[in-house]
Amino acid sequence: MRTPPGLTEQDFTRAVAEFQQAVGDEWVYIEDADLDLYRDAYSPLWGEEDEKIASAAIAPQSAEEVQAIMRIANAYKIPVYPVSTGRNLGYGGSAPVLSGSVVLDLKRMNRILEVNEANAYALVEPGVSYFELYKYIQERGLKLWIDCPDPGWGSVIGNALDHGCGYTTNPYRDHFEAHCGMEVVLANGDIVRTGMGALPNSQTWQQYRWGFGPWVDGLFGQSNFGVVTKMGIWLMPEPEAFRSGSVQVMKYDDIHQLVEITARMMNSGILNCGTGLQSPMSFALGQNPEMNERYLRANADDIVALDEFAAANDTPFWTSQFKFYGPPAIIDASWEYVKTQFAHVTDVRFVDQEYYRFPMTQEIIDNSQDENHLGIPSLSVFSLGARSNFNPTGSNGHLGFSPVIPMTGAAVLESQKVMGQVLRDMGASTVFNVFPQSYHQRTFTILLGFSVSRDVAENRKNREIFRELVRVAAEHGWGEYRTHTAFMDDCAAAYSFNDNALRRLHETLKDAIDPNGIISAGRYGIWPRHLREGRDRNA
């Protein structure tokens, strides 16, 4: 029998019996074969001594059962690690941060409690995936869209709590921003409703988020202060139409205007969703070592040569994608307005891309570029890293280094140079060729993917590179918006203003709200008092 750290087998056996009493024998897993299913399939620590494994798993079906479990865990001081659907692959999956924790598997809590078409929201439990919410809405013919992240099997609640994001419009695409009202079970088994939910018989729990007094919802995202058992999420009324197009600029230095105008369009609401910057030149540069060197160096002479190279290839240096959702007359006018804002940029090109009216037929969905942009969950993102003609052996998963950088052309160019240099200095097998996406308002996020392997040496090397990227990015003022559990201490340590004042505040809160430190020890770098000494051992 595996046992949690600090517990005797005798005590744990007694606690397991109490857990079984609380949820039923069938829903407490202690056999190795069952617990192996809670390993992180994409763990960069796979097969190493430090790999994070569970000592047991418990699958409650209701908030009341979660309360009972927390009371038992609190009495025995058993570390528990709640996961919602456990599908947060690339960010830790269903494995705990602290090895030996008991995983609280909330997948069975999969009730969709309400979907309200008139006020466009849903109230769900943590086990509800994007696929399930989408199916529920489709089966009832409701004129509502969900905003989904790349993998559709993720939890609506879990993704919002982890500050995940999607691809439709504001405010829905930033999933924590789109949530409204929570129910949370605390470490002592108490149950709290936030916002208007604190008002018994509230009529506006999912419509008005602030409630009365301090707004505490933020404490339960990217943290370990409670177990969220219900959450409201705002949904987008089905738009009439969608169109996308790209703005293409020809010269290296045009990036500054491209990003500046794009940001202005976004911040004034003309562009109401994310955008992605790309360089159509990246392939040609990759094929030409001399030009690639010039791109990396980018002094005045190099830029002249790069512009000539792009002109000779008749290829724009940069493009930015614009997407619009709404009535045809409005989205058509928005796109035309965007074009007028770029009209003064020499040789600018505009390319119309997709145009859809809703609802769509299955055939149109199948032929669309990316259904996630149309509010339809999928797993197509897993083609990255899967066996393919370009990657005939495939990988065993992925994880992402994802710093937030300013939404300026200068920051994009600087980050390209800085990250690229780290990869070269560290002897990485890949070149840096990713461009930023504006997953959130007002910023770009770089998402640099790493393959996960079953080869220990390869994973070790990638962990070193990852940590160096975190360190160097922090030197430039760029911090991660989210990370895999293996790097939470590293990323949290970078947020160190005033002798780690924010971490000290998090710890003060942790000690007050969870004095025995039983919930998700180490998550997002927040350790309970008795484990703080070792908190930097991974960083």
Binding site: Y38, S94, S380, F382, A386, R387, S388, N389
Partner: protein, 127 residues
């Protein structure tokens, strides 16, 4: 590469047999497998990656590269999948496909899924 893949698959099959042995000795009550219920499991858990057509279906796309036309890439077009092999991959994963917990696909559902993907059933469905 082909040789390496073959060796890998053989190794998996051997491990699969061991896993099968443990399934057979497990104490689950005998359950008449229901291919219809198995189709629901397939729709919910497998279809997003393993539907027909490689575009947008990473599992089908990956198997197309692996088999190079020697076998159908879509699982529902295969006529050689045993319930044991299906169980093995669901509980062990392969490549980027993760393994699945019992709160997602329980043992009964797994048996139903095996029945749905069995050659006997898929032949019947094709008719």
């Amino acid at each position: 590469m082909r040789k390496a893949n073959d060796a890998w698959n053989r190794a998996l099959t051997i491990r699969g047999c061991l896993v099968l042995a443990s399934f057979l000795t497990a104490t689950h009550p005998v359950h008449a497998q229901d291919p219809g219920a198995g189709k629901v499991v397939f729709d919910d858990w497998c279809r997003p990656c393993h539907d027909v057509g490689p575009r947008k279906h990473p599992g089908t796309a990956a198997l197309e590269v692996l088999y190079k036309g020697e076998k159908p890439a879509a699982l529902e077009h295969r006529l050689d999948l045993t319930p044991e092999l299906v169980s093995f991959y669901v509980r062990n994963g392969v490549s980027i496909m993760p393994f699945f917990r019992k709160t997602e696909i329980d043992d009964r559902e797994l048996a139903d899924l095996g029945a749905y993907l069995s050659p006997e059933n898929l032949r019947k469905v094709a008719q």
